[in-house]
């Protein structure tokens, strides 16, 4: 088994009203050093990697991220392949 983690974020030029509200809440709690918050999503994925190379796994994860985990119109993603469990 192999673990992977996909992060999805709103693109830089897309307004993130949730991140902005969290930023304001942090300021309200006195964390004045916070300059910006962007809220994203994380997906922890377990894979059966029998006979599949890391390169192939990365390609497949990128494909899944493009097709469904993210919406490429508004979001970017990153893929991390983690250690074997």
């Amino acid at each position: 088994m192999r673990k992977a983690r996909v992060f999805v974020w709103l693109k830089k030029d897309v307004l993130d009203p949730q991140g902005r509200t969290i930023n304001e809440a942090l300021h309200g709690l006195g964390y004045g050093l916070v300059e910006e918050v962007r809220q994203g999503k994380a997906f922890d994925i377990q894979l059966n990697d029998d006979g599949v190379s890391d390169e192939n796994l990365r390609e497949l994860l990128a494909e899944m991220s493009k097709r469904i985990l993210s919406n490429p119109v508004i979001e970017d993603f990153t893929v991390e392949l983690l250690d074997r469990s």
């Binding site: 709103l10 030029d13 897309v14 307004l15 009203p17 949730q18 509200t21 469904i68 985990l69 919406n71 119109v73 508004i74």
Partner: protein
């Protein structure tokens, strides 16, 4: 002219009955199409409606899971064959996620669920969905959404404008598209768009909630009346 509407129902769709009631109240016929049915064709319908609600609980993103359901493959073929498809609210979100219309929806600017009447200026009347309107007519139809702020990048917006695909914009009662008239932060006050071929139309407002005198508003009838006259034209 009696129109035969197909109304797609996903788990979590909640405006299917309202839509059925609205179109049947106007004298049309309608039938539900379940999301995991994959009929060979939808060609027996004059128009397919993707109604409002929270398909698949809006999990992942609004419309994202629905866009991969079996019935959507058939809806895609229906669109390719030139069939009329109307997406209302969540239905528009599904059309965006399946790539039938350009752009995407993000959370409302003020992070509030908004449920109220809005004014909308009709920017295009040469679509099968707005042909019963006059140019620059202002319609009063309710919105009801949390994730209805339309987003498209600059190149995409330019292409929408050039191809006359922006059908409805949030406006004031005189048809001015001011920032104050924009309820959710949508790019360019966009409330409804069509595809280049003009057989697919999606809008955030709910015409089915404004198509009966009893509800105190009837401007939504313009959308269904437009479809009826377009269908009549197609049958000729």
């Amino acid at each position: 002219m009696t129109v035969n509407f197909g109304i797609v129902v996903f788990p979590g769709t909640n405006c299917d009955q309202d839509t059925k009631s609205a179109v049947e109240g106007l004298g049309h016929r309608s039938e539900f199409i379940w999301h995991d049915s994959a009929p060979d064709s939808l060609s027996r319908f004059d128009c397919v409606i993707l109604p409002g609600g929270f398909a698949y609980g809006d999990y992942l993103r609004s419309g994202a899971i629905a866009a991969f359901s079996p019935v959507i493959a058939v809806v895609k073929r229906y669109i390719d064959e030139g069939g009329l498809v109307l997406g209302i609210c969540n239905g528009l979100q599904v059309l965006l996620e399946m790539g039938a219309l350009p752009g995407a929806m993000i959370r409302n600017r003020d992070l509030r669920f908004i449920c109220r009447f809005v004014d909308l200026i009709v920017k295009q009347t040469d679509t099968p969905f707005t042909s019963a309107c006059v140019q620059k007519q202002v319609l009063r139809i309710p919105i009801s959404h949390f994730e209805g702020s339309y987003y498209i990048d600059e190149a995409g917006l330019k292409s929408l404008i050039e191809n006359n695909q922006i059908v409805l914009k949030y406006s004031d009662e005189n048809g001015n598209c001011t920032p104050d008239a924009n309820p959710n932060g949508a790019v360019f006050n966009i409330a409804g768009i069509c595809n280049e071929r003009r057989n697919v139309f999606g809008l955030m407002p709910h015409p089915e909630r404004a198509a009966d005198e009893v509800l105190g508003a009837t401007d939504g009838k313009f959308i269904f009346d437009s479809i009826a006259s377009s269908v009549a034209e197609r049958r000729r």
